[in-house]
Structure formats: C-alpha cells, structure tokens
C-alpha cells in the first residue's frame, strides 16, 4: 500500500445525498402492497403490574378489525437479542404474559384493515391489571426490599457469578494510602432518545411460502436470526431487505418490530405494516441508559494519577436488551485514555421499571467520557495544574498496559491534543510540544 492512493482520501459525493435532499429516497415504510394490514400495539398504562385479564370483545367488533395476537400466539415468546452471542438469561417477552414491567410494554397486537381501525380497536381492548410497586432509581433498586423487576430475585444482570462487570489492575487501596490527594466525584445523566427522523418500522409480506420483510434495521441478520428464533421458523424462510435508514444511532439495533409483524403476516396471510408513531419512538423504544458514576482518584502532589476506582450504575430499564454488553464496553474504557497503574472498576447493569435501554452511539463510553473529563479538571484544580497539563502528564502511550490488560499499540492522544492546541491557539510548554505517544523507555511504568 505504498503507492499513492487514487480514490481513498477523496471526497466523492455520498451515494444517497441527492435522493435525501430532494425527498426522493424511498424508505422501508414508504412501500405499499395490495391488501396490506396495519398493526398497532396495546401497551401497559402502568409502570409495573400483574396482568389479570385481557378482554377483546369490544375491540373485535370495530369495523376493519382482522385479528388480535397475544402471548399465546407467539411460538417462542422471548425477545433476547444477545442470545445470538450466547448471552443469558432469556428475560423479555414479545407480548406480555402475567406481568408488565414498564409503562408502554406490549401486551396485545391488533391487526386491522386501516391504521385508524387498528387504533380504534386498540383503544377498545380492556385490560385488567393489578398495579405493583415500581422502582426508578438505580441505587434504590439495589436496596433490600426494593421491588424486584427480574424473574431471578435481584435487580442486577449477573456477569459469570458477579453482580457487576469487574476490572482489576494493581492495588487501588495501597495506592490511595500513599497518594497526596484523593479526588472524588459523582456524575449523573438522564436517559436520552435516539431521535431518528424516521421512526422504527417494517412491512412483512408473505411471498411464495416465505416472508419478505422490508425493514430499517441497522443489522439485517440480527433481525432475521431473532425473528427465526421467536417464530420458530428456519431462517431460510425469511428474506430481509433493508438499506436505507433515516437515522439509527443504535436505536435500530433492537429488532422489536420485525418478529411480531412477520407473525401477523403469517397468521393472516397478508402483508402487515408495523411502524412506530413518534410517541412510541420516544416513550416505548429503547433509550440511552441513565448513568450514575462514582469516581475516586489517588493523585500525587505533582499531578500523577496513581489509582482510580470507578463504580458505575447503568439504568437498563425493565429489560436488558444490549445494555449488559454496554457495561462491558464501559468497563474496558472507564479509566480513560490515561496511564493509571492501579485501577478498580465495578460496572452494574441495573433493572428498574423504566422503559428499556439498549445500544446508543457511544455505547457505554459517552457518559464515562463525560464523568472522566470533568473529573480531570477537578484533579487539575486540586493539584494546581491547568487542564491541558494534567492530561499531557497522565496521557497513555504505546506499550502501556490498559486496565483490561491490553497493551496500547495505537495511542495518539498526545498528538491529538497537540493538534487541538494548535487549532485553538493554546500555547503548550516546550516539554508538551516535544512529547509523543512512542513507547516509554523501559516499557510500561507498572506500579509507580
């Protein structure tokens, strides 16, 4: 690859640019098929409740009503997206069985000739629910006596026998004992929405003994494989077509609409369209988790961070979806791009009665970066350094051991900070200007 590059490195025009800016791009839900039915969901109005009964009699009399689907209609009524990579246990229901764990949880799918008929029938389904106590705060959820959201007796996802994803390097407590300063901070974030312009949706079409599903998923095979598991049909009976996504940001890695729309197409023999409304996108689809992150750092008088202890809680909501995986990614990044020889991380995936959370841009790292980089300024102020100097002093280099025991081999934090300083006209010291990410003489500094 030593020859000069011809095409890589050129700003050729994005293939979908003209279609998008002229409004001509066709999105998944823009298609129409003869005889297409519309699916709308009956959802829990309560945050936590026992389901006593479902009365469909009035809904069935709405003109245009075609059929209803309940839990008993779903061949394998479990939605556990990470089961594809061996993550257990199965926990979420495609349609609720005896309990609902968040406001908005799907209970009954209504299929009708028009969207209006589907909405009218949804409004006429009578639910008999017994409200249960609910919990909304990650640390409240871990206290004895808290309402239990899961079916296994506590409110944490279990990582190979541990209630949290752990990282351990060196001896944090010994380093705290010899540190000149202890700097502590608690950082919180509220949940946020992916806010795509195009809401989540699909159309499932029966075709020659197979089902073609037009979808705006970010991951066609995640959607196909999960649908195959839930419907208990071989994957080769399913044909998924995607390709244009009107905003993903991680929200369309969930595969929540395809299985039930395909089941409805199977049961009715007709094309079925299931597209989230804007309020479903905001109130029902996954959000980014709320986070609470406790940081405790041991720092020397000259500003070197010799120990960092991180205790993080991500609010997974009522079901875990992709969030257990986010905590693992968090754990691999929660010490930041700094060379810290003693690190202890406990990252908890906590269940509450909130709308479930899942993947979102920056998966497990965005809120860690917020906490860490505000904390770095706190440390700088404590030891009397400026924000640039504290980061240059502690920046990781190639050959350093990261807390998860991977050697850094592509670190360029120093060079990136030098470029930013030049961009904004911040004057660096001669020493900072001369620094590089090249391996330290003598390799990883170890315990320091």
């Amino acid at each position: 690859m030593t020859a000069p590059l011809e095409v890589v490195g050129r700003s050729v025009e994005r293939s979908d640019a003209v279609g998008h800016v002229t409004g001509r791009t066709r999105f998944a839900a823009d298609r129409a098929f003869p005889g297409m039915l519309h699916l709308k969901m009956v959802r829990s109005p309560l945050h936590h409740a026992r389901v006593r009964g479902i009365d469909l009699s009035e809904a069935e009399r709405v003109p245009g009503f075609v059929r209803a689907l309940t839990a008993a209609d779903v061949p394998h009524n479990r939605y556990t997206i990470l089961s594809l990579i061996g993550v257990e246990p199965e926990e979420e229901f495609v349609l609720a069985e005896d309990r609902v764990r968040f406001k908005g949880e799907a209970i009954v799918a209504i299929v009708a000739e028009t969207e209006e008929a589907a909405m009218e029938a949804v409004a006429k389904v009578r639910l008999d629910l017994d409200e249960l106590p609910a919990v909304f705060d990650v640390e409240e959820a871990l206290k004895p006596g808290a309402p239990i959201v899961t079916h296994w007796g506590n409110n944490t996802f279990m990582y190979e026998g541990h209630p949290c994803r752990r990282v351990r390097l060196g001896d944090v407590e010994a380093a705290f004992a010899r540190a000149d300063h202890i700097v502590e901070g608690v950082y919180n974030s509220s949940p946020i929405e992916h806010a795509p312009l195009e809401t989540t949706g699909c159309i499932a079409v029966p075709e020659g003994g197979r089902f073609t599903v037009y979808t705006n998923t970010q991951a066609l095979y995640f959607s196909l494989d999960n649908t195959s598991i839930i419907l208990q049909v071989p994957g080769n009976r399913l044909h998924f077509i995607g390709g244009t996504v009107g905003g993903g940001f991680g929200g369309k890695v969930d595969v929540i609409v395809e299985p039930i729309a395909t089941l409805a197409a199977m049961k009715t023999g007709r094309p079925v369209r299931f597209v989230y409304s804007r309020s479903e996108e905001m109130q029902v689809s996954s959000t980014r988790s709320a986070w609470r992150i406790y940081l405790k750092d041991g720092v020397t008088a000259d500003g070197r961070i010799i120990a960092r202890k991180v205790t993080s809680y991500a609010d997974s909501g009522a079901y875990s979806r992709q969030t257990p995986y986010a905590l693992t990614k968090h754990a691999a990044n929660a010490a930041g791009p700094y060379a810290i020889p003693n690190v202890s991380i406990d990252a908890y995936c906590v269940y509450t009665n909130r709308q479930p959370t899942s993947a979102m841009r920056g998966f497990g790292v965005t809120m860690a970066s917020f906490a860490l980089e505000v904390q770095m300024d706190r440390i700088a102020e404590t030891v009397g350094l400026d924000p640039w100097s504290i980061r240059f002093l502690n920046a990781y280099r190639n050959g350093d051991m990261k807390p998860h025991r991977k050697l850094a081999d592509d670190a360029t934090l120093i060079e990136t900070m030098q470029a930013a300083a030049a961009l904004v006209g911040h004057e660096l010291t001669a020493e900072q200007q001369a620094m590089t990410s090249a391996p330290r003489a003598g390799g990883d500094p170890g315990g320091r």
């Binding site: 490195g9 409240e140 949940p191 970010q218 890695v253 709320a290 990044n333 841009r361 920056g362 970066s369």
Partner: protein, 333 residues
C-alpha cells in the same frame, strides 16, 4: 447580572468494533460484462455513507474508477453475512472484507488479460480509469469491460472474488476484566467556548473546535460530516435532551419534538476541526472508526467551559438553566 464567557476542553479515545461475540463481515465482488464491478454485501448504510466509502475502497483495490463500482447491499437473499452497522465497525470490518474480495477479483481479471495479451500477469497494470495494459506498451491496452466480456465469451471464466474479515471472539475474565474487545482506538480533543447568562441560566455555545485522529480518512467530507453532526449531538446531550425531565421520576416524558428539546439551526455554534491521519495496523488502508465518538468529547468540554465561565461545576446531564441558577445561588455569600 452578566453574560460570562468560558473555555473548556476534553480529550478522549474510542474503540473501533466490539468483538466479545466474535465480529465477522463478508463481501463478494464480481465483474459484469458491461465493465462494472459489483460489490455485494448485507451491511446497511445508516446515512453515514457506508456504501460510498466501500465503493471507494473497492475501486482503490481493484485499480478502477469509483464510478465503475456498484455497491449492492442490504438484502439477505443476495448479500453474504454481516453482523450489522454499529460499534464504529462497518468501514473497518466491511472495508477489510472488500479488500480481500477485490484482491481476488483483480487477480482473476489480470489472469485473463495476461492470457489475451500473451504477457505475464505481473506485466499487466490497471490505469485507474477502466483500462488494462501491458506496462510500458500503451498500444497494448483494453478496457475492463472488454476483458470481462472475453472472460465470459472467449475463456469461459468468472472474474470474481470472495472476502471475509473476522476479529475473533474475546472472552472476558470475570475476575480481572482482562479482554481484547476492540481493534484499534481513535482519538479526539475538543475545546468548547460558552457564554452563560447569569440572569436566565441559559448557555450559548459559541464554538466547538476539535482535533481528531482517525487513522485514515477514506472520504474527508464524510468524516467532517460525522464531526459536525456529533458536535451538535454532544451539545444537545449536554444542554437539552432527556426523556425523563424529572429524573429519576418518570413523569412528563416527552411525546414529540415539541416536548423533546434539541438545539435548532439558530443555536448551532461555530464548529471547526483538524483531522490527523496516523494509519492503524489493521484497518483498511489504516482506517479507524469515527462513527460514534464524535458526540463524546463535546459534552465534558462544554461542562468544563461552564465551570470556567461561572465557577459552577455541574455533574449531572442535561445542564439545564435551573441547575446553573441553583449553582450560582449556592456560590453567593
């Protein structure tokens, strides 16, 4: 009451890919008799420009013009398996798979041309504009379309290639957290400038200026697009958005964009960036992923700038005017 200005910074890294379940992508490439190369995938373009950059990587490796490459993707009946578009993985994983497929297809093309020209394969070259020739002998030149037709009608051969790339599964040690979860790390350093109105608690972001190190830019305009969009999204997370305005209470959650606040065009600050290229050892042409990370460093940079302006350290997001006013009140003697 006053409008106070401040500057804050943040520096971050961000991993490319996440392979704790194993992370493979496949690609197929074949030549048509009309002179195109078709890249067949099942990866999805989210609007970030995946089809475009994959076309560029294929054209580069094949040695043909960008407009000779057609990217056919996102159909599970035709496209080979791909994990999906997330974790800043697609350009890295799919790009590597496409390079492997394109190398194989290019060799098949050169074999046919060599036979036709009665030359050895290493004497044949592509001019990057759709022609094959014997090196140093411009008279012995032929369009790719003609060689592809000959492969079909004269030699009975395919001009095709298969490619796959997989970062193998890494198990996490449950005691120590030891793992190899990603392929490389990209870097960013952001400086934000804000103005805080101490009467209303409102924050105006004046500028977000960043340096990014992304390995290699396949398409600089698309990298710039990610940086600009991410700066806006980070600013929005820092100051505006939440689905639980009274968190942790779940009440009054928004139902639409009139209730879910985000900054509009009038709130957009000056956004500027420089991009460093320090190629990774394992990405296609040295690529690192930039898809997710661009919203990250703007958040703490803005929060640190608010502290610099006002002396109020906010440690919960979003930073609402109420939090700033309460912070200012607490500082009054």
């Amino acid at each position: 009451m006053a409008k106070l200005r401040g500057t804050g910074m943040a520096a971050v890294n961000y991993p490319t890919g996440m392979n704790l379940g194993g992370d493979p992508s496949q690609a197929l490439v074949h030549a048509t008799t009309s002179g195109s190369f078709v890249v067949t995938l099942s990866a999805t373009d989210l609007g970030q420009g995946l089809r475009t950059v994959i076309g560029q990587i294929a054209a580069e490796t094949l040695g043909v013009a960008y407009d000779q490459v057609v990217v056919d993707t996102a159909d599970t009946d035709t496209g080979p398996h791909d994990m999906g578009t997330f974790a800043s993985r697609a350009t890295h994983r799919v790009g590597n798979a496409v390079i492997a497929a394109a190398v194989e297809a290019r060799k098949a093309l050169l074999d046919v041309a060599a036979e036709e020209f009665e030359a050895s394969v290493d004497e044949i070259e592509l001019d990057g504009h759709g022609n094959l020739m014997v090196r140093g002998v411009p008279a012995r030149s032929m369009p790719v379309a003609e060689v592809a037709s000959m492969a079909q009608f004269k030699y009975g051969r395919t001009i095709a290639g298969r490619g796959s790339f997989m970062k193998p599964r890494s198990e996490v040690d449950p005691e120590t957290g030891a793992m190899d979860p990603d392929s490389t790390e990209a870097h960013a350093c952001t400086v934000a400038e804000v103005e805080v109105d101490t009467e209303t608690g409102e924050v105006t972001v004046l500028s977000i200026r960043s340096a990014y190190e992304v390995g290699r830019q396949v398409n600089p305009a698309l990298v710039q697009g990610q940086i600009t969009g991410g700066a806006w999204m980070g600013m929005s997370h820092a100051l505006y958005e939440t689905t639980a305005p009274y968190y942790p209470a779940p009440d009054h959650s928004p139902r639409d964009f009139s209730e879910y606040l985000m900054p509009g065009p009038l709130e957009l600050p000056e956004i500027d960036c420089v991009v460093l290229e320090m190629p990774s050892s394992n990405g296609p042409y040295g690529v690192k992923g930039i898809g997710e990370m661009t919203a990250n460093s703007p958040i703490p940079a803005i929060v640190n700038a608010i502290y610099h302006a006002t002396g109020v350290r906010i440690d919960s997001l979003p930073v609402t005017p109420e939090k700033i006013l309460r912070g200012l009140d607490a500082r009054r003697p």
